[in-house]
């Protein structure tokens, strides 16, 4: 099991920025061993060959990377890269700023 370290600087990326989108796509690309340029917000999990187990592995990666907790009902809505970015923005925006 790869031990993703708790990332301190991830919160520095503004969730609304294009940089955040690139970061999320980069994480997906790394996990699925895909070329980031082939992934767009329109890419679906199905197209990228992400099955249900890969999906929860990705969620775990996002949780560790951004130090957030993604509720099950939000996870269930994630079927494309765009939906992932949207959900992460929602969770990150709602989160109380950490000290």
């Amino acid at each position: 099991m790869s031990e993703t370290p708790q990332s301190g600087d991830a919160t520095a990326v503004d969730p609304a920025s294009p940089e955040f989108e690139r970061k999320v796509i980069g994480l997906i690309a790394k996990k699925k061993k895909l070329e980031p340029s082939t992934i767009t917000p329109e890419s679906t999990f199905q197209e990228m060959g992400i099955d249900s187990l890969d999906g929860i592995d990705l969620v775990f990666t996002f949780e560790d990377e951004f130090n957030i907790s993604i509720p099950d009902q939000v996870v269930q809505k994630m079927k494309s890269v765009g939906q992932v970015i949207e959900a992460l923005r929602e969770v990150l925006t709602k989160r109380a700023p950490s000290a």
Partner: protein, 408 residues
């Protein structure tokens, strides 16, 4: 009842990856015991282990998702791949339902659990990795090996501590004999080298801890101190004899008998009657008289109690013939690979039959009055082995004995 051929073997042990490294190690009377490689061994009183040296899963498991695998499953997949290659095994589409897997483990996903608990208790991280269950479940190795080859027949994982592989192979053998499967990949895998596993074995006070790691495990020798914890995997291809004959594959040996008994006595102290009975059952099933057995691969853990008791067990089961047996504990070299032991040791036994050599018991320095049989001390012995047994007597009093004979 059908006959069962052993047509393929694969092994990963502290001797290295593969049958070649394994046999070379045994013939060189080499010890696989070394200083443990754990990154933080400071709290360990015993720091000796028989680890698989320089194991790089990426190198051996191309195309397989390593993230999904605990080390014990990785070892099983590598041993399984060698066994399948060695058997030149291919399955027609209709044969997949008649081919199965039986890979046991004693400890299971120890390193995954270690990470899990460290994150939770020490690092206070609330999230567990979602692959934790697929990695830690004891049946993971059996499932992964079965998935790799599309084995849709019986799939089981027997967990009987240090006899796990012995029972796994025995049960697979009975399935083929009874006609419930034609081919079984059978064996065991364990990778228990984590600090907590060491601590619990230390607490049992059965680990060897001399200054020199290489000579730590000294089965049957008067100065024996105890067990060296090891790791590894052994997988064998068991095949219906007629199927093997028809396809003309080399048959390493014939698996002819399996005896399984339980002491139903003490949870750790070994019994005598039940293990001796397991030997007799295996011989009876094999149709072999005690005096037809030439070699015994002993359970031979190297503890004071096990080795003296096993000597008594062998005298009980073999009577006057016990003194003529060549007996060795190959654990003296590859360490105690827990739930993989029975498979690794059966492979040592079969290679001995094929090559007419009894592997030695190394680190044997002086006879013990309580262990007064022939333990093939320190050097391999050239001898014809017509038939042999391999013993697995586990903590918990669960005993498995496998009998094999030269293919004919």
């Amino acid at each position: 009842m059908r006959r069962v051929a052993i047509t393929g073997m694969g092994v990963v042990s502290s001797m290295g990856v593969g049958l070649g490294a394994f046999w070379d190690g045994l013939m060189a009377a080499r010890s696989g015991s070394r200083r443990v490689s754990l990154s933080d061994p400071n709290l360990l009183s015993v720091q000796i282990a028989a680890e698989v040296p320089d194991f790089d899963p990426e190198k051996h498991l191309a195309g397989i998702s390593i993230d999904m695998l605990d080390r014990f499953s990785q070892l099983a997949l590598v041993a399984g791949a060698e066994a399948v290659r060695d058997a030149c095994l291919t399955l027609e589409e209709h044969e997949h339902d008649r081919a199965g897997v039986s890979i046991g483990t004693g400890v299971g996903g120890a390193s995954t659990q270690d990470v899990l608990y460290r994150r939770y208790y020490a690092e206070k991280i609330a999230r567990a990795h979602p692959f934790s269950i697929p990695r830690t479940m004891n049946s993971a190795a059996a499932s992964q090996v079965g998935m790799n080859y599309g084995l849709r027949g019986p799939g089981i994982c027997v967990s009987t501590a240090c006899a796990s592989a012995g029972h796994s192979i025995g049960e697979a053998f009975e399935m083929i004999r009874a006609g419930r499967a034609d081919v079984m990949l059978a064996g065991g895998a364990d990778a228990p080298i984590t600090a907590p596993v060491f601590k619990v074995w230390e607490a049992m006070r059965v680990l060897a801890n001399p200054p020199d790691a290489a000579t730590a495990c000294r089965p049957f020798s008067r100065d024996r101190q105890g067990i060296v914890i090891g790791e590894g995997s052994g997988v064998l291809v068991l095949e219906d004899w007629e199927r093997a004959r028809k396809r003309g594959v080399r048959i390493h040996a014939e698996l002819v008998g399996y005896g399984a008994t339980a002491d139903a006595g003490h949870i750790t102290q070994p019994g005598i009657d039940a293990p001796a009975h397991a030997i007799s059952l295996a011989l009876t099933e094999a149709g072999l008289r005690p005096d037809q057995i030439d070699y015994v691969n002993a359970h031979g853990t190297g503890t004071r109690l096990n080795d003296a008791t096993e000597t008594t067990i062998l005298k009980r089961a073999f009577g006057d013939h016990a003194v003529r047996l060549a007996i060795s504990s190959t654990k003296s070299m590859h360490g105690h690979a827990m739930g993989a032991s029975g498979a690794i040791e059966l492979i040592a036994t079969i290679l001995g039959i094929e090559r007419s050599v009894a592997p030695p018991t190394i680190n044997y320095s002086e006879p013990d009055p309580e262990c007064d049989l022939d333990y093939v001390p320190n050097e391999p012995r050239e001898m014809r082995i017509g038939a042999a047994i391999s013993n697995s007597f586990a903590f918990g009093g669960l005993n498995a004995v496998l009998a094999v004979r030269r293919a004919a």
